[in-house]
Symmetry: C2
Subunit: 410 residues, 2 copies
């Protein structure tokens, strides 16, 4: 019998208990031993719930029980999660977590402790919820240099942008609706400002570079400025707007990483990812294009990934399997050097401004939306973001909005 | 240093050598040791090619060299591949293969030999080319009961159906074009009759059931009967036609498996998979929907998957990691018991036949294509295939074609 403890009985924690109860027979068959949840750590009690007999309020109960070989951390937040997880690993207990904030900040250190103790620190659920992406990167795409990883990594904003695109609704009303039906938090900042996606792409960037990428270094722009008018231009261009979190290798270990709403054309594999779904596009230098799609959040999909980590930890009780992610920091390249097309919405009349725009930006493509008077849009040629900014500086008073264009390279 | 041998220097074999040459530094870093291709087995010589110095013509050279720890089998076909692979495993050498025919037929036995010898028999590249699917099923989706796995598993037929759909071309001319540009073999039977997809879904069915599923037991219908007219009806229905290979769990370990062209609506995750790409949709009882997409064939993508298996084998030299697939045979359920809607093209006039059709099939939905005179189509309610066949028997002389409809259950 393999005893585990679950720290946190919130949404994901109760999902973990449910998954083990529901699929226990199959899980035990895969491990080759019986998996037993010995403790559930929570501040609260759950009288009348069968979980109550496993509830403990004191972390010391778990850390001092040598029978507990694997600990699930699904409390969220940095503290006390970080202290608890570190003590578990130092005590020789493997840890599985869904906590992206913890992994983004302390992943390298926790992996290194796990390695020293011949145990495992696993975090499949921290990116993409139920979608397998961490383990594929670590153990499937091992023959490749990963040149790009671009994801729709936040279900809330994808749900909102999908609604805005297909129903023409505005940002505020879509946010209210998403909050009403539980797809957005009452304080939606972490989602709509892109912070959640930013932590996730920091984790993926660390994994593909093998070094620590700090999320604070990644330029992060949310969806709060996306308007009904922007969506009309997107439709006129035959494109969709998605919040993309992207990491691209320019040469050697030089990574460009960014979180921002982007215009995507239908030939991009992420174009059709709608609603609360997440999807992660990967380009390997020999593999070519691949994509992983599924439920990026939710109680049971996330719990499915956490329990899969528990199974993996149980099959590798005294053997470290993870991963190339050193504490040495990788400085993300300045976004001024990244290259792409830009879509620009401009106040004023095309006739008047276009000659000057052609002069500053080169051969632009004009986009007009019938009914939107007193403004027009244009698409720049591919240029460095620094060069775009220099040119955009000339039109500070006229530029209404700029949205980056993400093209699918073939 | 870890020495390996590559058996077969055809498309995939030369790709394996190229991937190891290109990404050797990263691969060695992942393994923690230097990977060295010691032998390449082929009947031919390759004078002037650097591979020549590794070429051997006699399998005995490989089997008798105790330095060779991992053997790559990319010869294809059952013999001599089966004999060679079995001898390698019995001699304590791990094997990585892309050979779907070999895996479908002898996978269970070869896995059992590998387990007995504490080594590994790995076959990621046998299904979906470069797309990671075997390893995710084996080590990521381990907390789930997999209730459905449905894939576009053959790039040739998907390329052809995409051309037929978007360009209105007929089967014969699309086949000729695919042959001319190398997407189809001169003898296209294995692809267009669905045999290739059938072996792949047999492998996936064995993995999700844990028992041997024989491809001969799976009903297999190719794309040779798909016409320009069928595509017109598909468009009228807002649907696409794809060659799907599918395995569904009805209850317990009762599996329905089938290979057949199917009509898909845009809400199905596989609807947008076009051209030579492959994609595999998976539904787990707690995970929900997931999808894996990428290059299903081709020299480098396939080689990427083979080399990833080599890396895994190198990291687990004396430890068996694969998998639940017993030799005990699982009898696939009779397709008469599977349930779905059917699209039927009928000769004759709607006015005349519809009353009788409503009487036999229940509330059907009529589909008309402007310009296609003397015929009409209808969509049946969800029914068992056996019941459909009984009813279709009444209209033998009028039914021009039946295509199954694959609905995405939410």
């Amino acid at each position: 019998m393999i005893n585990i403890a679950v720290m946190g009985y919130g949404t994901v924690g109760s999902g973990v208990v449910e998954v083990v109860n529901t699929n226990g027979a199959r899980i035990n068959q895969r491990i080759g031993e019986e998996l037993n949840i010995k403790y559930v750590l929570d501040l609260k009690d759950f009288p009348g719930n069968p979980v109550q007999e496993k509830i403990v309020h004191d972390f010391e109960t778990i850390i001092q029980d040598d029978d507990v070989k694997i600990v699930v951390e699904v409390m969220g937040g940095i503290e006390p999660a970080y202290t608890f997880v570190k003590r578990c690993l130092l005590a020789g207990k493997s840890v599985a977590t869904s906590n992206k904030a913890l992994v983004a900040k302390h992943g390298a250190e926790l992996l290194s402790i796990a390695k020293d103790h011949n145990i495992n620190f696993l975090f499949e659920a921290s990116v993409g919820g139920g979608i397998p992406i961490i383990r594929p990167l670590n153990s499937s795409l091992t023959a490749d240099e990963i040149e790009e990883i671009t994801g729709i990594l936040n279900g809330t904003t994808n749900y909102m942008l999908t609604k805005m695109f297909y129903e023409g609704a505005d940002y505020d009303s879509v946010l209210k609706e998403a909050q009403a039906n539980g797809f957005a938090e009452r304080n939606p900042e972490a989602d709509v400002e892109g912070y959640d996606a930013c932590r996730k792409i920091a984790i993926l960037s660390s994994l593909i570079s093998g070094q620590q990428v700090d999320f604070e270094d990644i330029y992060c722009e949310g969806i709060t400025e996306i308007t009904v008018e922007d969506m009309k231009y997107a439709k006129a261009m035959g494109a969709a707007i998605k919040l993309l979190a992207s990491s691209k290798r320019y040469s050697g270990n030089r990574l460009h990483a960014i979180v921002a709403p982007c215009l995507l054309y239908p030939d991009h594999p992420l174009y059709n990812v709608n609603g609360v779904f997440n999807s992660i596009f990967v380009h390997g230098n020999v593999l070519g294009d691949a994509m992983f799609y599924g439920s990026g959040a939710g109680k049971l999909p996330t719990a499915s990934a956490v329990v899969a980590d528990v199974v993996d930890a149980a099959k590798h009780l005294n053997r470290n399997i993870m991963t190339m992610w050193k504490q040495e920091k990788l400085k993300i390249e300045d976004k001024a050097g990244s290259r792409r097309k830009f879509f620009v919405r401009m106040k004023g009349s095309e006739e008047e401004l276009l000659p000057q725009i052609l002069d500053s930006f080169g051969e632009v493509e004009v986009v007009k939306v019938p009914g939107l008077d007193g403004e027009f849009g244009f698409i720049t040629p591919v240029m460095m973001e620094g060069d775009y900014e220099t040119r955009a500086g000339l039109y500070q008073d006229q530029i209404l909005h700029m949205i980056r264009i993400e093209e699918h390279k073939k």
